[in-house]
Structures are given as C-alpha cells and as structure tokens.
C-alpha cells in the first residue's frame, strides 16, 4: 500500500470514521453493560463487523436467545447486504484473500463510499477499496475497544444505554420514510410484527414478523411497484 493511496483513502473515510467512532463506542458500552468482557467486545467487532447486527447481538446475549433465532435474525437484519454485492461484481473481480476481505468488510457505509466517491485514475482502484475497507473497520474496532474499556473499567449506571439501538433504527426508518415514495413496506412491516407479537408471542416478533412481511410484500407486489414509481 503506497502512501498516496492510503492518504486519499483516509481523507475519503473521514465522514464514516466520525460516524463509526460514536456508534462503535456505544456498542462497546452496551455489550459491556450486558456483561461481556473487553476481549469479547473487540472480537465481535473484528469477526462480525456489522452495525445494526451487533446492536441486535447485545439483545440476543441478554436474552440468551436460541442459535436458530440468532442465525435467522442476523440473516434478516443483514439481508440488505445481499444486494450491495450486485453492484460490486465487476469491481471485485478476481480472487484471493484480499477479495474475501473486501466482501467481508462491505458494510453500508463502505459500500456508500466505494460507489459514491470517484477515485482518481492515478490511484489503483483495488488498493483504494482495500484501504477504505480496512480504515473503516479499524475505526469501528478502535471505538468498540474504548467503549468497552470505559464500560468495564468504570462502573457507572448504564441503565437505558440500550435505547441507542432503538434510536439507531428510528433514525434509519425516518430516513427511509423520506426516500421511499410508497409507504406500504413500512405499514406491512409494522403490522406483521404486531401480528407476530399477538399470535406467536414476544420471542418470535423478528422471525414471524419478517416471514409475514415477505409474504405480504409478494402478495401486494403489483400495488407496491405502482405506488413506488
């Protein structure tokens, strides 16, 4: 990695770093409030590396959730990633360990930077992508470390800190309500979750709600596509 590529990548990453520092820090605080060690917190950010999914993991750990519930919920919350790769097929062509890392590190923000920022011709595209991915994850892991360090070293009352997760999702849904022309998906999701809560109980809101959402979306596909145009 030459200096020029790294410098340009770092400059590109600044907005994401500024976002990852507080949210990684909040994850560190939450996961240590759930009783996990500093080591566990950092390992999670190294090997899982997904914002919303790791916030949800705090809840799984607190509730001692079943493996299958963890697997399916993690899959669903990350299902948007299924589509990020589609626009990276060409760019990430080739093979090897570097490609695996590029795919592993394809978070919302990394995807947004790599598709949104024009990389100068004088810089190697692949090295640039690798640098951006690694810099972003470093910020996430570092922030997790300090959050968990503070959470485990200083014993202060963190009751309510887990509202950060709810707040994150509220912010996401507010942004989505502005971008999506059709509001059907939101109504479908909320009603499916409520139906799952009433019929299947509190432990099955995510699974039941997601399954019903998929079914309802497919049933109302024509209407949603017309409304979304």
């Amino acid at each position: 990695m030459n200096k020029k590529t790294f410098k340009y990548a770092f400059k590109t990453c600044v907005p994401v770093i500024l976002g990852y520092l507080p949210s990684g820090f909040a994850f560190g605080l939450m996961i240590s409030a759930a009783g996990c060690s500093l080591f566990t917190a950092v390992i999670m950010s190294v090997v899982i590396y997904t914002g919303a999914g790791q916030y949800l993991a705090v809840d799984f750990i607190k509730n001692n959730s079943a493996y299958i519930a963890i697997a399916v919920s993690t899959f669903l919350i990350n299902s948007k990633h299924l589509f990020y790769g589609l626009s990276m097929l060409e760019r990430y062509k080739g093979s090897g360990f570097k490609k695996l890392y590029l795919i592993f590190g394809l978070t919302d923000e990394t995807y947004a930077l790599l598709t949104g920022v024009k990389c100068p011709d004088s810089i190697d595209q692949r090295r640039f992508a690798l640098a951006v991915t690694a810099i972003n994850q470093s910020a996430w892991v570092t922030a997790t470390f300090f959050g968990a360090l503070l959470g485990t070293a200083v014993s202060f009352d963190t009751t309510g800190i887990d509202f950060a997760m709810t707040a994150l999702f509220l912010v996401i849904v507010t942004d989505q309500l502005k971008t999506y022309k059709t509001k059907y998906p939101f109504v479908i999701g909320a009603l499916s979750a409520l139906a799952a809560l009433l019929v299947l109980g509190r432990d099955n809101i995510l699974l039941g709600g997601a399954a019903m959402s998929v079914a309802a979306l497919i049933l109302l596909r024509k209407r949603i596509e017309n409304d979304g145009r």
């Binding site: 709810t166 849904v173 942004d175 059709t182 479908i188 909320a190 979306l217």
Partner: protein, 107 residues
Amino acid sequence: MDGKKLFISIIIMSLVTFSTRAMPFLLFGRGDKPAPIILFLGKYLPPALISVIIIYCYKDIDLMGAQHGIPELLAAAVTVGLHLKFNNTMLSIFAGTIFYMLMLRFI
C-alpha cells in the same frame, strides 16, 4: 449466556453476516441476472424489516407498568424530531439516548 454459547453465537453471527455479503458474488459472479422478484424484495424488504425491528425494540414495554412506556415513546419523539430538524444521525441517536437515560432516573 455462558461462555461456550457466547463463543458459538459469535461464530454464527460472523458466518451468517459474511454469507449475506458473499451471496451475490457466489450467485451472480458469472453474469447471471437476478430474478425480478429478488430485485423487488431487495428494494422493499429493508424498510419492512426495519419497521419489524422497531416493534421488536418496544417489546419489553409494559403499558400497564409504573411508567406506561412513556419514557420510551418520548425518547423516540425526541430522536425522530431532532433527526427531522438537523438530519444528523449521531446527534439524534446520542441526544435521544441521553434523554431516555435521564428520564429513567429523574421521572
């Protein structure tokens, strides 16, 4: 959650997260086009799922309890209100969370 279960859970979350990111490369790496229904779900499933997750976040509220879920709902209003006004993700999340933590302690 005990140590062994935590360890296995982290491995599961890691593998599942990676698989969602790797899937398009495995399925469409040779130039096959995804089916329209997949593209449709790709576009409209995320907002539906976020709505599901928000209901999930509120599952522990006891409407009949001492606080009737008022702190949770007010903190949500603060978070969304700030976000609509300033459009700054971190400000909205932190201010909403601190507001919530203060409410739990002083109300």
